[in-house]
């Protein structure tokens, strides 16, 4: 028997195998993975952007249709990252194939990189597709493309990590829906996806500042139009902060073996 060349540092074949598996899963359900969110977003766009938006004027001189594009992309990014990453790790737990992952020479960090990496890839691709779809409806300018990509990636990473945590925590399929439906969607709608929080009465505006989503959407919108509800520095800090919190949570989960091993 030839002894395998041992992987003492990084199991790249292992990470690649998981990543490819996850991408293949998305390609198998291409309709569900990409077409559905694109249609949903287009509908939002038609209803809010074209129908209602044509009667509205925004503060920053950007047409309402163009104004909501960053918010729409963020909304899709949140939900897709969450559902992809949570489903990706929950499903092997559900079918029992997790045994292989647990018995393989992959570190927890590698598992996270592979699953989260795949979820990030899928949601960023989706975000870009939505951006392309939107540009068919309204002219879009991107003032700070590098920052735009940075916000996109960082948000996708954060929410994919968060989704991964949900997937590990979940005991049933209903748990996978629970947080996205009950927390993320409301916070996104209240977080300035479809309006600037400057349009709100002062009391509501102050209240909105407790909503973390506000900072993510505001920063992302700034990278498009240079105008923001809150300062970009704060947005950036918040985005990095959420990412760090999720990273810390994941490492805690693995340190304790929480809900993966008996």
């Amino acid at each position: 028997m030839n002894r395998p060349a041992l992987i003492h540092s990084f199991n790249r074949h292992g990470v690649w195998a998981i990543y490819k598996f996850e991408i293949a899963r998305a390609l198998r359900t291409l309709v569900q993975s990409l077409v559905t969110p694109v249609i949903t977003t287009s509908l939002y766009f038609v209803v809010f952007g074209a129908a209602i938006g044509s009667r509205l004027v925004t503060t920053s001189g950007v047409s309402y249709g163009a104004f909501i594009v960053p918010g729409l992309i963020m909304l899709a990014l949140f939900t897709e990252s969450l559902s992809n990453a949570s489903f990706g790790i929950y499903f092997p737990k559900f079918t029992g194939t997790i045994y292989e992952l647990l018995s393989a020479p992959v570190s927890y960090a590698e598992i996270v990189i592979a699953y989260v990496g795949a979820a990030v890839t899928k949601s960023v691709v989706l975000g870009l597709i939505i951006l392309a779809t939107a540009s068919l409806f309204v002219p879009i300018k991107i003032l700070h493309p590098l920052w735009m990509i940075a916000f996109l990636l960082m948000t996708a990473c954060t929410f994919s990590l968060f989704g991964f945590i949900i997937g590990i925590w979940a005991k049933g399929f209903e748990h996978l829906q629970f947080i996205p439906m009950l927390v993320i969607t409301p916070l996104t709608f209240l977080g300035g996806a479809f309006y600037s929080i400057d349009m709100l009465p002062p009391a509501w505006r102050a209240f909105s500042l407790f909503n973390p989503i506000v900072y993510l959407i505001s920063g992302f919108r700034w990278s498009f139009y240079g105008a923001a509800d809150v300062s970009v520095g704060i947005s950036l800090g918040m985005t990095v902060g959420f990412f760090a919190i999720c990273l810390w949570l994941v490492s805690w989960i693995f340190k304790t073996g929480y809900r993966l091993k008996n």
Binding site: M1, H13, G14, A17, A24, T95, Y99, S103, P105, N262
Partner: protein, 307 residues
């Protein structure tokens, strides 16, 4: 030669508080086939899952070829392949994809030639592009074996490989196991079929209620614990055993029709003297029958006696 697997003081209590393993010490030699026998719930799967990294031991250490399974898990796990008891597969994947996935997961570079040979050995080659959900149960089990062997492990765990498998596939499986052993692979299997252990294993461990009750070379075990019985069917029934025969361990059965001679171990068997003496006493033998206890009897004895 140092053992390929060394289990020292391993215990396991599940979160429910249930103690599944009480204190297990066991060494597995390189290249042997070791069978772990035990009734349902004995702790076989728990022990295997601890070695493979699926369950965390409450105490104790395990090394695989000198590598600690916790501290040096990468090295330890990359030499181990596991076919678990439950059939859990990725229903939507193809056979080829899932076996290649396993190889990658265990850190090995792609090797289509090897995978092809593996699938051929397991008679799965014509199913390589089929989705797993379209396969029969026996084929799925073979896919699980292919996955476990995809990274060319030195140590293979088979947790009840032949549960729910037909006779032909069971034969195939045994042949496969023998072939692997010839290549130097160490095999640890659990089974409920005693004849399987009897036919396959070099050594046998009996586990019951979380305690490893005995570990023995199969032949020694049979010799030590195997009883042989000679049953003599008599022409005319005896009321009692004649005094002249007290030298032999005899019993009367079937209302004096059967004279049963039990030999506990291999030594001091003197059947011809017994037959001669019977002849002298004019006890006529109509027929005779011998019975050698199998592992099954040994096993049942062990498990019932000591509980």
């Amino acid at each position: 030669m140092p053992p390929i697997i060394s289990i020292r003081g391993v215990t396991k209590s599940y979160a429910s508080g249930f103690q599944a393993l009480k204190l297990v010490n066991l060494d597995i030699d390189k290249g042997e086939i070791f069978a772990l026998l035990g009734p349902n719930g004995a702790g076989k799967t728990t022990l295997i899952n601890i070695i493979c990294g699926i369950v965390t031991a409450s105490a104790g250490t395990v090394t695989a070829d000198g590598c600690d399974i916790v501290d040096d898990y990468r090295a330890a796990r990359s030499m181990i392949g596991l076919v678990p008891q439950e059939l859990s597969t990725d229903a939507f994947e193809t056979v080829w994809a899932t076996v290649s996935f396993s190889r990658g997961l265990f850190g090995r570079a792609p090797n289509p030639t090897f995978i092809e040979g593996l699938l051929r050995d397991l008679s799965l080659l014509d199913k390589r592009n089929s989705r797993i959900m379209t396969l029969s149960g026996g084929m799925k089990r073979r896919v699980m074996i292919a996955k476990a062997l995809s990274h060319e492990p030195q140590i293979l765990f088979l947790d009840e490989p032949t549960a729910g498998v037909d006779v032909e596939l069971r034969r195939d499986m045994w042949n496969l196991v023998r072939g692997l052993r010839e290549k130097g692979v160490t095999i640890i299997l659990t089974t409920h079929y005693i004849e399987e252990a009897e036919e396959m294993a070099d050594r046998i461990g009996v586990i019951n209620k979380g305690t490893l009750m005995l570990v023995e070379n199969k032949h020694d075990l049979m010799k030590k614990l195997g009883k042989r019985q000679l049953t003599l069917h008599l022409q005319t029934p005896l009321q009692h055993i004649p005094d002249e025969l007290r030298f032999w361990a005899l019993e009367l059965k079937a209302e004096g029709h059967d004279l049963v001679y039990t030999v506990d171990s291999a030594d001091s068997v003197d059947i011809s003297a017994l037959l001669k003496r019977l002849n002298e006493l004019s006890i006529v033998i109509k027929d005779l029958q011998t019975h050698q206890s199998s592992l099954e009897d040994i096993f049942v004895n062990l498990v019932t006696e000591r509980t």
